[in-house]
């Protein structure tokens, strides 16, 4: 079974973002770029599924100018088997990405597409859902995992503890119970994540939603987007970096994939959010009420 993972090259998460003086966008010159953190998590999940024997190949896809190849190489260094680079210098919005992915799926025919839930530069949270819609595939978004409590034995300081593949799928009653529970730390006794059932061609995903955890079961092929607490991505080790140099990267252009990059969106202005003002100290309740009435206008 093949897994396709889409990764995006974005401004590094730890860099302080500055808006360009002409307000047309964000400064990207000489700024450290790296892989989107959610995409790292997606790739890590795909690699774990492959390592548990349920998948045969992980293909990493990236779209953008030639600098994206750095990010793709990082993905290959983490362990992806092949890379695909869709070369495009124009801005790619989620719908374009989704269309390109759909056409790539027709070429590569993976059974599972895993993406990060959103990119940290645009925070759209749209691509995964759009891909599922275009392909008419089921989707399990915001796939998450509960972190084990700190005094849980066996999970101290392991860079990656393999997720429990075997215990869960059979015991459905337990899962529905979990789905009903509120999302709380430390009540879960084992790691839950994306669970694949090969014979039944299903995947079970625990989704982190606003009111707790929702468990869904999807028939393959399916689309999954990953949330922050799903796993901790591995480091790129030197032997893997060496191997990555020889892994093949296929190149496409949007034209070859019959996707027209026509921008329906125009970014009018990019501004910084207003700076937080210092708080105002009030000396009495009456003053507070008066301020709430007249200045904040909330009562």
């Amino acid at each position: 079974m093949k897994i396709m993972v889409a990764i995006k090259r974005v401004i590094d998460y730890a860099v302080k973002i500055r808006v360009k003086p002409d307000k047309s966008g964000v400064v990207t010159q000489n700024v450290k770029m790296s892989m989107n953190p959610f995409c790292e998590i997606a790739l890590e999940e795909a690699l774990r599924i492959r390592e548990s024997g349920l998948a045969s190949e992980v293909v990493a896809v990236t779209m953008g100018p030639s600098q994206c190849l750095d990010t793709l190489r990082t993905g290959l260094a983490m362990g992806a088997d092949r890379g695909i680079h869709v070369d495009s210098t124009s801005a790619l919005h989620p719908l374009h990405v989704a269309k390109i992915l759909r056409n790539l799926v027709q070429i590569e025919k993976p059974s599972l597409i895993i993406l990060g839930k959103q990119a940290i530069d645009d925070d759209c949270n749209q691509t995964g859902q759009m891909v599922a819609g275009l392909l008419n595939w089921p989707q399990g978004t915001f796939a998450s995992k509960v972190s084990p409590s700190s005094n849980h034995p066996g999970f101290k300081n392991q860079a990656f503890a393999p997720t429990m593949w075997w215990g869960f799928p059979k015991d459905k009653s337990n899962m529905s119970q979990i789905g009903k529970k509120e999302y709380t730390h430390g009540t879960m006794k084992s790691l839950i994540g994306v669970v694949l059932d090969k014979e039944k061609e299903e995947v079970t995903v625990d989704r982190e939603v606003d009111d707790g955890i929702e468990t869904v079961q999807l028939k393959l092929p399916a689309v999954i987007t990953t949330d922050l607490r799903l796993n901790q991505p591995r480091y790129a080790t030197l032997p893997n970096i060496m191997k990555a140099k020889s892994k093949p990267i296929k190149k496409f252009t949007p034209q070859e994939l019959n996707v027209e990059i026509k921008s329906d969106l125009e970014i009018v202005e990019v501004t910084e959010p207003p700076k937080r003002k210092a708080g105002v100290m009030v000396s009495s309740v009456d003053e507070l009420i008066e301020k709430l009435k007249n200045e904040a206008k909330v009562i």
């Binding site: 730890a14 790296s34 892989m35 260094a77 300081n157 860079a159 030197l238």
Partner: protein, 558 residues
């Protein structure tokens, strides 16, 4: 204060120009009277320069002033430029008149030979021949002319004797004798100085270091060079080129200038922009003081924080504090050196401590346990090319089986988590219980031997952890026990200090001496050096009120 200096110097200028009776210029503008040309120097530098000079040759200048007072310009005299900080007292002594005048850079004054210096006689020459052998005692006129004249041919002395010692002991003997006989001495290297500092003014004995031109040793691992003061800079540079290293000092005069002179004058040169001044690059000096004492401050260690760093006094003292006979220099490595910004190591005990006690610490190489971990950081302006360099270096090292495994941080977050592993060790140690902390500078090859010896000494009683700045040869040896225990302390000290001293290390690479090692300085510094330190302490703090009981041994202070 500075203004008063100006006034004093202007007064002197007019003194020189007038042939007849000197009287103070009453008009304000000095330009009409002066015919000498001036060199405008920044005042702050000039003032410091003079303070140093005055401190060490105070009596000389005092005498000069007295001569001028009498307007007696007999005998030999030279036109010399200098300022006078004694001007404030001099003003009231001499003129008692307030003069407003503009300040200029420097002035030329006549210098009179100080009569307290003895004159050379045959007995002295014979004594020197006895120490050095007749070959190295030169009285030949031609050779003396070169030694007496500076490179710009602006200053010419009239020395009658040129000595060429070959060893530090000979220099020490010479100076001891000259001190006893009160013979003035001029240390000379390549004689390429541009301010007349390397040639005699009158008949001082010239001690030339040119014969001491051996490169004593070069450590390729740490890039530390030990050489004698008479080595010509160009020879050193070509020697290092062969080894693949760069000398941090380079000047136009490299064909003739000697490293002893460079260090004594704190030469700047062409590469200062990148490598910094000699204060940063000279790790140690062996110098001979005026009375013949040999101060051995030669430590082949990148870091040494034991007591006052006396070598800096000699760097830039221009031969007025002591004759530098040997020095240690740090060279820059060519391969990864230019982008390398950190090179740390930790052993497996340290790694386990951090992983167990610190939250959020992640083992980057979990698949196998390794004995040592090294953290390398590079900093540069071009990320992709630096990354390529680092990857090439790491992959090459893997192929050569220098490293068994590694992980490369792909973004800033991963880099911070790598640093947490190294920077979190002290905190993890604190959480593990009591800690005995030692900070030692040891030659890189022998660094870990100490950790292993400590382990065998302490056995199961304690967890001996070694980590540190491998690139600087600095080991942080930490012994972790559940509680503080005197028994364990006696096992550790003084063994640690003795071991370090035996291997010519420093008992404090960066932490300093403080209270903990106040009486232990002798493990790393010679008694003569400590004596000079205590005399400086007495000079600057006669009542010892500043931070008592620390740094220097109590026995020497009292």
């Amino acid at each position: 204060m500075v203004n008063r200096n100006c006034r004093a110097t202007l007064r002197l200028v007019t003194l020189i120009n007038r042939q007849g009776h000197p009287h103070p210029p009453l008009s304000s503008s000095p330009s009409g009277h002066i015919s000498h040309s001036y060199i405008i120097l920044p005042f702050s530098i000039a003032f410091v320069f003079l303070t140093v000079l005055c401190f060490y040759s105070g009596t000389g200048i005092d005498a000069c002033w007295k001569q001028l007072q009498r307007n007696n310009v007999h005998g030999e005299h030279k036109i010399v430029s200098f300022f006078s900080p004694l001007a404030s007292s001099l003003k009231t002594r001499q003129w008692g008149v307030n003069i407003q005048s503009r300040c200029y850079g420097s002035a030329s004054v006549l210098v009179q030979r100080n009569p307290k210096f003895s004159k050379l006689n045959d007995e002295d020459v014979r004594y020197f021949e006895g120490i050095l052998g007749a070959k190295n005692v030169i009285q030949d006129d031609e050779k003396l002319i070169t030694a007496n004249t500076d490179w710009m041919r602006k200053y010419k002395g009239s020395s009658k004797l040129l000595l060429q010692p070959r060893t530090t002991d000979q220099v020490s003997e010479i100076l001891k004798y000259c001190n006893f006989r009160c013979l003035a001495v001029v240390p000379q290297g390549g004689n390429t100085g541009l301010v007349g500092g390397s040639v005699p003014v009158f008949d001082e004995v010239v001690v030339s270091l040119s014969a001491m031109s051996k490169i004593i040793s070069f450590d390729k691992v740490s890039g530390i060079l030990v050489c004698e003061a008479g080595c010509i800079l160009e020879n050193i540079i070509s020697f290092l080129d062969n080894e693949g290293f760069i000398m941090p000092l380079d000047l136009g005069a490299k064909g003739s200038c000697q490293i002893g002179g460079n260090v004594s004058t704190n030469a700047g040169g062409l590469r200062l922009l990148r490598y910094g001044s000699l204060h940063g690059n000279v790790l140690g000096i062996e110098a001979v003081l005026a009375d013949g004492t040999v101060l051995d401050m030669l430590k082949t260690l990148r870091k040494d924080n034991t007591g006052y760093d006396l070598k800096h006094l000699f760097i830039g003292s221009e031969g007025s504090l002591g004759i530098v006979t040997k020095k240690l220099l740090q060279e820059a490595r060519r391969k990864l050196g230019e982008i390398l910004s950190a090179f740390e190591f930790l052993d497996s005990n340290a790694m386990n401590l951090v992983l167990n006690h610190l939250e959020g610490a992640r083992n980057p190489l979990p698949t196998s346990l390794h004995n040592f971990y090294v953290l390398i950081e590079t900093t540069g302006s071009d990320e992709s090319s630096d990354k390529q360099k680092l990857e090439a270096f790491l992959l090459g090292s893997m192929e050569n089986e220098l490293i068994s495994d590694g992980a490369l941080a792909q973004d800033i977050n991963q880099a911070s988590s790598f640093w947490l592993l190294r920077e979190g060790i002290p905190e993890a140690l604190m959480r593990a219980g009591a800690v005995y902390k030692y900070d030692l500078s040891i030659p890189v090859e022998k660094m870990y031997n100490l950790v292993e010896e400590m382990r065998s000494r302490l056995g199961n009683d304690a967890n001996v952890v070694g980590y540190g700045h491998l690139g600087d040869g600095n080991l942080h040896l930490n012994v972790s026990t559940p509680q503080y225990d005197d028994k364990i302390l006696s096992q550790i000290e003084p063994f640690v200090y003795e071991w370090t001293s035996k291997h010519h290390g420093s008992i404090s690479a960066e932490h300093g001496l403080g209270l903990m090692k106040a009486n232990k300085i002798f493990y790393s510094k010679s008694p003569e050096t400590v004596k000079v330190m205590t005399s400086i302490k007495k000079l600057l703090d006669p009542n010892h009120i500043l931070n008592p009981y620390k740094v220097l041994p109590c026995s020497s202070i009292s």
